[in-house]
Symmetry: C2
Subunit: 341 residues, 2 copies
DNA sequence: TATTAGCACTCTAATGAAGAGAGTGCTAAA
DNA sequence: TTTAGCACTCTCTTCATTAGAGTGCTAATA
């Protein structure tokens, strides 16, 4: 698809104006608002051409134009110039993150909060976790009676906890001994290794190895652990959603854990770290998101731990801004992960 | 406020009908739908009386009646007969809970899910945690370099984790020794005690004791830890919210952690365990919730660990059903806590 | 050849008038 | 005390009309 320079300009301006006003944009509006040195008739011709190309459409014969999915896509991949975040913003954010250098969960939460605040859209962030879970440490604590608490640490900082009932009471000393032994045995091993070694064990050690395998498997799915959401209410301030079943369904997808995981793993997998990916109009994923766009990135240190983060808003979205903020937070988190895990 | 038996009946029926249809209810509608043995004129007189008393109001002169806040309140405190949950429902739910007897977080999540499903409204649940945090166990793990991971177990099963940088590298053996020593020292102590003892310590032990105090303090706030939300999308299927800024603001309050904590601690504090509390029309709490009602309860084992759970829906809500389900889940969780923590 | 002025045309959104319908309150009778 | 009857009020829907926004096309212009 080849556009003339002027067509590119017109498309850019029109998208900008449409994003701003949420109403179809006419030829005159473009000329006046952006003080173009041409008449509205000229713009009309260009608009007609862009419409033929499928970049724009008219809600009805005598209305202005609205960008199509394709129009946005062209804009995002060819015309967008990323928006520099003001220094004041970046430094405040950086500061906030470094103030809580001790807690992965807090980073994640903060990231979600900042993303949604800055993009004025819903945000979602997963905690960083190892691509392949490697055993790091185990702790067994007798809480009372036959009940035991297992704390499992996986390389990269993820912690799993689990309360389990044993068939007979066991003393803390004994538990500690088992934990120490298994800890040595499984050091830096992955699930498969541990699975194999578990078969050589018996009794209590066998059971506990089984729990470890279960937990480590859970940790291996693409979207392990919590997905932190924030700014959901932004969705409902968008004019296209004020009155709509659509919004409810969009929200629903974010609430249903399995749906969400499914969705994220589909999209996040083929994203490279550092690269920001833009999905426009749901783009083949789920019907509920047909009116939405998603700006996502993966972050983390490859081989150590990675996670993903993104912004979900209406298709009519300030892509420049969203992309910048997603990229910024993603590199910030990558740095934090590399330095601290 | 004294109502005749017939007035009570009329109020009950009218509320039922209004909840069902979400539209003002007229005298005829009441008579016909509930096959009353009186004429609509009689009902009209009663409606007029109830309106005078402030239980009902008319959106405009020639419309039917709508319950007022006060009307709902009277209904809930005098007229409601709790709805028995069908055995099939209770047993399925119980079964679900007992299937995952090993994980507090999962209970909480499940509780939120069941609550919102059954009440068709938004639900919120906090994990059970001790009213007064008592130290149980500490673990220190050297992750790499000067970095150390602290895992703190508080009586009742809550686990806090924290990554911290030391000023100089320390060997795992040394860390284990410190952990063991502090573990003995602080066994079953509360924050204040530990605070005092910390002052007697120095060096590494002093620092770590400091972290422990910080974490335990965090755990002492009324709404410690995550608040699990579910079914938020239900809010937007209610007709009173389809087109409304109001809904957005309601959602917002659930998203802003500080607001939410504030709100919950205000209301949850004076609830007794086992008792279900109903807040109608926000009832003095927050403006954003003026159109909403909240059905809450505390659960848990006093002295051991407690949490709270509730259902948030439009004021026009099936109170009977919500109260039943909240009560049921709350006793179920209380049992689980008592048995397992 | 590219641009622009001019204009007829189309469609929407806003406005207002008219009528149907729902529900009330009051009065008088049972 | 209850009820039938009825005038009255207010909303909601429908329909027609109109103003306005924006288009596409043609012919003139640089």
């Amino acid at each position: 698809m080849n556009l003339s320079d002027r067509q590119k300009l017109v498309l850019t301006l029109l998208i900008h104006e449409y994003v701003r006003t949420a109403a179809p944009v006419g030829s005159q509006a473009v000329v006046e608002r952006y003080k173009l040195d041409m008449s509205s008739a000229t713009i009309r011709n260009e608009l007609a051409a862009l419409t033929d190309m499928g970049m724009l459409r008219q809600p009805h014969t005598s209305a202005g134009r609205v960008p199509t999915e394709e129009g946005y896509r062209y804009f995002v991949s060819h015309l967008i110039h990323e928006m520099e975040l003001p220094d004041s913003t970046t430094s405040t954010i950086t500061h906030q993150f470094f103030q809580m250098r001790n807690d992965v969960e807090q980073w994640t939460r903060l990231a979600a909060s900042v993303l949604s605040q800055q993009s004025k859209a819903a945000s979602l962030v997963t905690a960083p976790h190892p691509e392949r879970a490697l055993f790091k440490h185990i702790e067994l604590i007798s809480t009372h009676g036959r009940q035991v608490l297992m704390v499992l640490v996986i390389a990269g900082g993820t912690i799993h906890q689990r309360i389990q009932l044993l068939s007979e009471p066991v003393y803390q000393e004994q538990l500690s001994a088992v934990a120490a032994r298994l800890g040595n045995l499984f050091q830096a091993k992955d699930v498969d290794d541990i699975q194999n070694m578990a078969n050589q064990l018996n009794g209590l050690e066998h059971d506990i190895a089984g729990w470890i395998v279960e937990e480590m498997n859970r940790s291996d799915s693409v979207v392990a652990g919590e997905v932190y959401l924030d700014g959901l209410s932004h969705i409902f301030s968008e004019p296209e959603f004020i009155n709509s079943e659509e919004a409810r369904r969009g929200l629903h997808i974010l609430e249903e854990r399995p749906l969400l995981e499914d969705f994220l793993s589909q999209t996040a997998l083929n994203a490279t770290i550092g690269g920001v990916q833009v999905l426009i109009g749901g783009e083949g994923t789920r019907d509920e998101l047909r009116q939405c766009s998603l700006v996502v990135a993966r972050y983390g240190a490859p081989g150590l731990a990675t996670g993903m983060l993104g912004v979900l808003g209406p298709m009519r979205m300030y892509y420049g801004r969203s992309i910048s903020i997603v990229r910024f937070i993603s590199t910030l988190l990558s740095d934090l992960v590399a330095e601290n895990l």
